[in-house]
Subunit: 716 residues, 2 copies
């Protein structure tokens, strides 16, 4: 049994515990020890509850044991609410009582400056085989076992959503939203300090959990980036995953600049990584909930065609606006359907296009029209938009959802009491209801996005074993710049085209090299101390003959000597000057969470002013490379505008794949910038390569292909 | 008394009616005539209700009159639910009974192919002085008079928001949302066909209504664009206005192209126009509600500094993310405040930065911290973020809001029963509560945006009497293109710089003109039949000497003759060739709703690929011109990037003002394109002018300055 399997079994056993020790109960309603017992009882747990407090006695009708060892049965799960200092002792006792897991609700560990206590419980967990949830959590709630082991809130409304959240309040809020409107949850877990069981483990568990149809995650970070992606990739096809990542704007606010390092905000990389491996992202906690509801209930749609059937013109227009904004298709009605619609006894003023505005509050009309839409395959998804009280809507929807091929989502607003009761009844039947047409359409868009992702053949999408290329621990302070001649050799190894060139140590030699290459040429200074060559006068362009090259050489060397007196000049690079063309940037970085990451963007103002770039975690699949080219806003420039033909997009995708290969085979590579790359209709050329490498630990046992490392000394 | 004053008085009298005739009642609960009576009674109306139905008898305890004329008292308001055909008769009877206004809920007019009926009631209104609301409306609800004259819903929760909506369902939904959570409304009106009283009239009324603090509008269009803007400009400083405009994406989906005509989507113009005159825009009906809540309750903030005080770290992070996304400032805590915070008995793990994460559920802590923030002027706005049950929160907030200088908004989520009761109690006290930190921050951002607009000195903002330049009725089919030499003369009248140039009818003459101008020159064909000159070979650039000019002339004429055999060629324009520079586009169009409108954008890929343009309704104020330059995404290019200094932005603003003057003084101008304009550090040059004019009616009595019209014949 693998470690992962054992962990999933441990979670399964803990969630399905038949006996729970609740250690640290209190009779004071203001204390967490009281709240936790109150909640577990309120949740209707049917197994044995064994409260523990040194005071003993009785609480809420249950005998209180004075210590864990006094409990007369084997424990499946210990729920711990004692002070942090007492947790290690309780854990040992719980292990003695056979507990396979403990949920440590207590705070006061690493977050309170006590990493020693956290190390201690981690050690006990390893030694005694007792698995840990937390510490520092709101608790866990597993509804199939009616086990609501939380401080707060009591949630009993069972439904298809599992919540995995790093914030206790977000756990509570999502649970309450789902319960209040009848949608319900299968489980809610708060992650806390994740000493042992982490977000990836819970994903693995919920992948197998029969009561869960979709997973929603609120994350502030992840424990192991590469493992998280591998688990996402594995789980997402089985159980859709929606993620809201906190910290989205800090990175976005970084001033944009042309080199990859500063453009690569880790939040942008995080979102790109999650999408790359199949998750649906949400930009707010409410959007997370809305999207997860759709993912849990909508049949995976075959396409992106939406038909709105509405009781109101206003709501229909709002739905249609949002559909277009979300990039959904709003198709015309099939002619046959129109003919049959006309035969129905619909209100005379009903508008029979898409959206269909029925101007009717008769649920029978909605049923008839939806059935016709399905018969004529008018759309992949139907939005039933009730914007008035529509009596009988729940019953009609239940009948429809059983027989329709299309996915159905519902918007219900402005329907008074009918709406409020209807919302709960419809959602209890497993159909998502939204409070406005726009939010419903955003849910639909999430389902379309998820379906599109998973329609791609798996082999095109990934085959890359992302976890094989872990985040290498490298010392940033021991990093250094690789001079361009050496960088160019590396590019050549990876089939990245660079202009024809030669090296020269004197003006005369430069002129000779230039004559062989043909004019015009560019001269570039070669010095480990001159990174930003242009700024230091280290580049001369448009040199049209040998005389100009000689003169350019002398001027350039003089300029650099003035600008950087300490620079050791090793010579110059003489390059054929590339024709003007469209400029793009390709870069690679070592993301601190996910390791080797590739960036793509249009050059010049697009990257600088608009931060119009895309990211993928390496290694890239062919599809990743295509997608990262397509998803930038400036893509039309590559596809061809103003009567210009399309650029060499296929070669560009290959170049991205090569950069991906380069960066995973060279974990010592900290930053790679190919800026600019000139792209033409038939070819492309990297005009500059800036590479920064770092010192890696002596014996990297991380499975990287044993490539020749790029030197990290300045001995070039 | 002006017409507007009379209308406002009529609305006032109707809303405050002491006697209402309800014409068309029914005893059948499925009929609108039943629903309307039921709703008016449910609303608690305390004046006299006089139901009318030919059947007579009694209904819901009220005597039913068989006709309006039978009613024994003077009517203040007639509420009409009879069939459309019967409405004119009922109106005449109501007028006889002294009714100053009628709310016509009945449908079946223009929207049902009966404009004749609509013309008839309009005529009756004019003849008899009875003012009309509707027809084809859900109804009206005016809470200060407990007058809920609607089919549905019964809304009695009074609050500070007035609803003006073109959709009945949106009217109902917004009313219910506000009532359900205790926020409340002052009034709700559904606009319908607006035969008489229109959205602008209601704005004028609510501006004066003491019970209304903010107005939210759902619009699909407006009756008179220029009047609407003038009313917005007048009302917005007194009563904040939030607007959601339906139809937002259709225009956005138009394929982007470089000429103004196709870039000017009327929705984009609509939004720009509303913002220009002081409204806050919302992109969804829920956002409309959220923003209006903030506008109605937050003290107009002095700046954009937000401090979040939260019970939970997760909620605090989400709030902070959204604050940054909304462009709000999240300042550090003042040192003095930090010192005093440390003296409070807050939880040991509380995080004392911004956001402040109290990790406390004690409302006293929130009160203490908010008071300190105010004392030290730590922020202009406070977000109190409760993400757990916080007992006593309503009381604490009531005390705070009375004494704080800063504006306060509340986010409450994950607080169970405490939250649900607290939300209502807090909102009854006039403080906006949102269900998530992100939505709260969006509300705050709306208040900041509104305050910033109205902080601008009025004289900088407008002095333009927008209604003086009405939307002129022009015949698009009689439009024609103005040849460039004539267009250039017009530019000169408006101080718009164009390269030095001369006209030539022969190759020899062209060479001579070029010699006088100096080289290089550009040749452009002059023909009324060649609009897109470059595409037809009608432009030759980089002509470096007389020989090249002669040759260029011959080639150009030959090319054009081949491409457009029927073109009459009147000669060529010989222009000094402008140096390379940053290119922008300035255009003007006649918007069908708002009339003369100016557009600005960066040239080339920015306009073509990214649709990065801004609009303002003409005439522009100096501030409008500055703002439209600043608000495009590519603005940094004008401000100076890559070591380049700032461009001549002041001259560009002047040019926009001149284009504005040009287009309002020439209502015959249908489309003006200055594309490109080259902008340099010290100057700018319009390199091309494409003008399309149209035929106007003979005697335009629209107050336009009597300028010499640009010829609309092809006689040039």
């Amino acid at each position: 049994m693998s470690g992962t399997e054992a962990t999933v079994r441990a979670i399964h056993a803990a969630f399905n515990a038949k006996s729970v020790g609740l250690v640290g109960v209190s009779s004071d309603p203001r204390k967490f020890g009281y709240m936790a017992l109150n909640t577990i009882l309120g949740g209707g747990y049917e197994g044995g509850i064994y409260p523990v407090s040194p005071k003993g006695g009785e609480l809420m009708g249950l005998k209180v044991y004075t210590s864990v060892s006094e409990i007369p049965v084997k424990l499946d799960l210990a729920v711990i609410v004692v002070s942090a200092e007492s947790v290690p002792g309780v854990l040992l006792e719980a292990a003695d009582k056979g507990a396979g897991a403990a949920a440590i609700l207590s705070a006061g560990f690493r977050e309170a400056g006590r990493p020693d206590l956290e190390d201690r419980i981690a050690a006990i967990s390893l030694e005694r085989g007792i698995r840990l949830m937390g510490p520092n959590i709101q608790g866990i709630n597993y509804l199939p076992n009616k086990l609501c082991a939380m401080f707060f809130p009591v949630i009993k409304t069972k439904g298809p959503l599992a919540i995995v959240s790093q914030s206790g309040s977000v756990t509570a809020a999502l649970s309450e939203w789902a319960a209040d409107e009848g949608f319900g949850i299968s489980a809610a877990v708060n992650l806390g300090n994740q000493v042992d069981i982490c977000e990836s483990d819970y994903l693995e568990f919920f992948a197998q959990d029969e009561d869960t149809r979709a997973i929603m995650m609120y994350l502030e970070g992840v424990k192991d980036g590469r493992r998280f992606l591998e688990v996402l990739e594995k789980v997402a096809p089985q159980k859709p995953i929606a993620i809201c990542k906190a910290g989205r704007t800090t990175a976005g606010q970084k001033s944009a600049a042309s080199h990859t390092g500063s453009l690569a905000g880790s939040h942008e990389v995080f979102e790109a990584a999650c999408r790359q491996f199949g998750a649906v992202m949400a930009e707010s906690v409410e959007a997370l909930y809305d999207r997860a509801k759709a993912l849990a209930t909508l049949k995976r749609p075959k396409g992106n065609r939406v038909l709105t059937i509405s009781s109101s013109g206003g709501a229909a227009t709002l739905a249609c606006d949002e559909a277009e904004a979300q990039g959904l298709s709003v198709p015309l009605l099939p002619v046959g359907m129109l003919d049959e619609l006309k035969k129905l006894k619909l209100p005379a003023l009903a508008s029979l296009s898409n959206p269909i505005d029925l101007i009717s509050l008769d649920s029978e009309h909605f049923k008839q029209v939806a059935s016709l839409a399905d018969k004529f395959d008018a759309a992949d998804l139907l939005l039933m938009s009730f914007a008035d009280p529509v009596p009988g809507a729940p019953e009609a929807l239940k009948q429809l959802s059983a027989k329709l091929g299309a996915s159905v989502a519902v918007s219900y607003m402005g329907g008074g009491k009918e709406e409020k009761a209807g919302r709960v009844e419809i959602q209890r039947a497993g159909i998502a209801v939204y409070p406005s047409p726009e939010r419903a359409m955003q849910g639909i868009a999430a389902a379309v996005c998820e379906a599109r992702y998973h329609r791609t053949p798996r082999e095109r999408r990934q085959s890359m074993h992302v976890a094989r290329y872990p985040v290498a621990a490298g010392a940033k302070d021991k990093s250094h710049f690789v001079p361009e001649p050496q960088a160019i050799e590396l590019l050549a190894e990876y089939n990245i085209p660079y202009p024809e060139h030669g090296l020269a140590e004197s003006a005369e030699e430069a002129a000779e090299v230039a004559r062989k290459l043909g004019f015009p040429v560019v001269l570039k200074i070669v010095s480990p101390h001159v990174i930003h060559k242009s700024d230091m006068g280290g580049v001369r362009m448009d040199l049209l003959d040998e005389h100009a090259v000689r003169e350019g050489f002398e001027i350039m060397v003089a300029c650099v000597r003035t600008a950087v007196p300490e620079a050791s000049i090793q010579g110059t690079l003489v390059c054929c000057q590339a024709e003007p063309g469209l400029e793009v940037i390709v870069g690679a970085i070592q993301d601190p969470v996910f390791g080797p990451t590739v960036m793509f963007g249009l050059g010049g103002v697009f990257a600088e002013v608009l931060n119009d770039v895309s990211f993928r975690i390496a290694p890239l699949s062919a599809l990743d490379a295509e997608e990262m080219i397509h998803e930038i806003k400036g893509y039309p420039l590559l596809a061809g505008v103003r009567g210009r033909g399309p650029m060499a997009v296929g070669q560009l995708a290959n170049l991205l794949l090569e950069v991906s290969r380069l960066v995973v085979e060279h974990p010592e590579m900290m930053e790679l910038d190919l800026n600019p790359i000139r792209v033409y209709e038939q070819r492309l050329l990297a005009l500059d390569a800036r590479i920064i490498v770092r010192a890696l630990p002596e014996n990297p046992s991380n499975g990287h292909k044993a490539n020749k490392r790029i030197s990290t000394s300045n001995s070039c």
